[in-house]
């Protein structure tokens, strides 16, 4: 099996791996690099659990081939906390009791992060739209929506 080199930045650190051609980014991250924060919920592009941020855009790592990410800047939920301090989104998910089984949580946070990076003061509709590609089977979505709105409120208070 032909191996191909891939190099990208993952949560700020350089990664270089030889992978089999045709390997999805999800498998490369989880099985080669050891970042298991993106989850494989469907491998179809229908659940959002594998969501990552590539060059500032929300992507599904299960439908992205790793070798198309050469030179990319990739962010995952594993890189959200800095120096042991939780990211405001993570804090808000805890405070809002927005996790149950937790399997959708990393993907939800990626979707929410992209939203808040671009729209610091989102409306509820903005949040609903931003999370619309991510399935949660436990919470009924409301606590997750609240967690994102809570993060935005906390951010705007800190900025003020």
């Amino acid at each position: 099996m032909a191996k191909v080199p891939v190099e990208f930045t993952l949560n700020g650190s350089e990664k270089a791996e030889f992978i089999e051609s045709g390997t999805t980014l999800l498998h490369a991250l989880r099985d080669k690099i050891g970042d298991t924060s993106p989850k494989g919920g469907c491998h179809q592009g229908t659940c959002g659990a594998c969501s990552v941020i590539i060059d500032g855009e929300l992507r599904l790592s299960c439908l992205t081939l790793a070798e198309t990410c050469n030179g990319a800047d990739i962010k995952t939920t594993a890189g959200l906390a800095k120096g042991g301090v939780l990211h405001p989104l993570q804090r808000a998910f805890l405070d809002a009791f927005a996790t149950q089984c937790g399997f959708c949580t990393p993907g939800m946070m990626m979707a929410a992060k992209v939203l808040l990076d671009r729209t610091p003061n989102p409306s509820r509709d903005d949040v609903v739209e931003a999370l619309s590609g991510n399935i949660c089977r436990c919470t009924g979505y409301e606590p997750i929506i609240q967690a994102v709105l809570l993060t935005a409120r906390a951010n705007s208070q800190n900025a003020a």
Binding site: T46, C101, R137, C138, T139, E142, P143, I145
Partner: protein
């Protein structure tokens, strides 16, 4: 086009634990040298928060803060038997086992403390903050940290306990069906409000007001998680979900989250949750199992609300726009 409104009600009960009993769960509790408590189980957390609840139950029973408890569960090399997480049994069965184990451990802990304080163990109480004190004389106290050190290194005592909870199995009488299915039941009543589009059959859920009686809310925020998510699933079952949309025909089963329909974040009903607590006689601190029943009353409440709105009965689940529209057309045709 007309958007027509209606509301419906439903009331239900739901048994806690495996039907007819016979479903044991065990727990072990022991103290570490510095007075932290390890609960060893083989119970499974599905996301409902069983680990956290077992920690709170152990903490309350021992008399320490919850963050002094560690849950080691679902490793069959270490955890004693649990029948499993299903049938709303986790909190009730495992919780009772943890209480029994924790009580036994607490007794040893108090005995060691009594020796250190030179009083009778029966005269001691915990303050819930990590200390043991003489009843009526709280200045005479010792920390659980010190008690555990003493037990381990001085007195050679194991601060530990074993717990087992089993409701004996009931066997239904063949001809009459006389049996004991369960020892306690949770209750609910839901009022749902809908809008029905009488040209397309689309049903929009405006509000659900759910009243749940769950014995005891051991952790109210976690109860809320279950009840809010359950209410969503009930709505989902009522209006969306099936693996065989043309049952009993086997064709066109959904194979992904696009085809298997569930309400999205833009479909959420305004949801109100009210909790009543009538403690059960045999539940841990009176708790019953709320996890399953919270998704049931919305289904008939919505069916009844659809009838209230447009005057057609949909007696088959799910209540799809197609079923509503077919019924409306039949109604119009007389």
């Amino acid at each position: 086009m007309a958007i027509r409104r209606g509301r419906g009600v439903a009331a239900i009960n739901y048994p806690t634990g495996m039907n007819l009993g016979g479903d044991p769960t065990q727990a072990l509790v022991h103290s570490t040298p510095t007075g932290n408590f390890m609960v060893t189980l083989s119970s499974v957390d599905l996301g409902q928060g069983m680990k956290q609840i077992m920690a709170q139950i152990c903490a309350e029973t021992i008399g320490v803060p919850t963050d002094r408890v560690i849950i080691d569960t679902a490793d069959t090399d270490t955890g004693p038997h649990c029948m499993g997480t299903f049938a709303s049994r986790g909190t009730h069965r495992a919780g009772n086992a943890v209480i029994q184990a924790a009580k036994e451990a607490r007794q040893v802990m108090l005995e060691v403390a009594a020796e250190e304080l030179e009083v009778n163990a029966s005269d001691l109480e915990t303050d819930g903050q990590g200390n043991i004190q003489v009843k009526g004389a709280p200045q005479k106290s010792i920390s659980i940290f010190d008690v555990a050190l003493s037990a381990h290194f001085k007195r050679g005592r194991s601060i530990s306990g074993r717990g087992m909870f089993l409701i004996p199995r009931s066997y239904p009488e063949k001809e009459t069906g006389a049996m004991k299915p369960s020892t306690c039941y949770a209750h609910a009543c839901t009022v749902a409000e809908v809008e029905v589009d009488d040209e397309t059959g689309e049903v929009r859920v405006l509000k659900v007001k759910n009243v749940f009686e769950i014995g005891r809310a051991l952790n109210p925020k976690m109860v809320e998680q279950q009840l809010v998510g359950g209410s969503w699933m009930g709505i989902s079952h009522a209006l969306y979900e099936t693996t065989e949309p043309y049952y009993p025909n086997r064709d066109h089963g959904g194979t992904d989250f696009n085809q298997y329909l569930m309400p999205g974040p833009g479909d959420l009903a305004q949801t109100e949750i009210i909790v009543l607590e009538r403690p059960s006689a045999d539940g841990p601190f009176g708790a019953k199992g709320p996890g399953e029943m919270c998704a049931n009353p919305q289904i008939p409440a919505l069916a009844n609300a659809v009838f209230d709105a447009v005057g057609v009965r949909i007696d088959a689940l799910p209540i799809t726009p197609e079923r509503v529209l077919r019924a409306l057309k039949a109604q119009a045709a007389g």
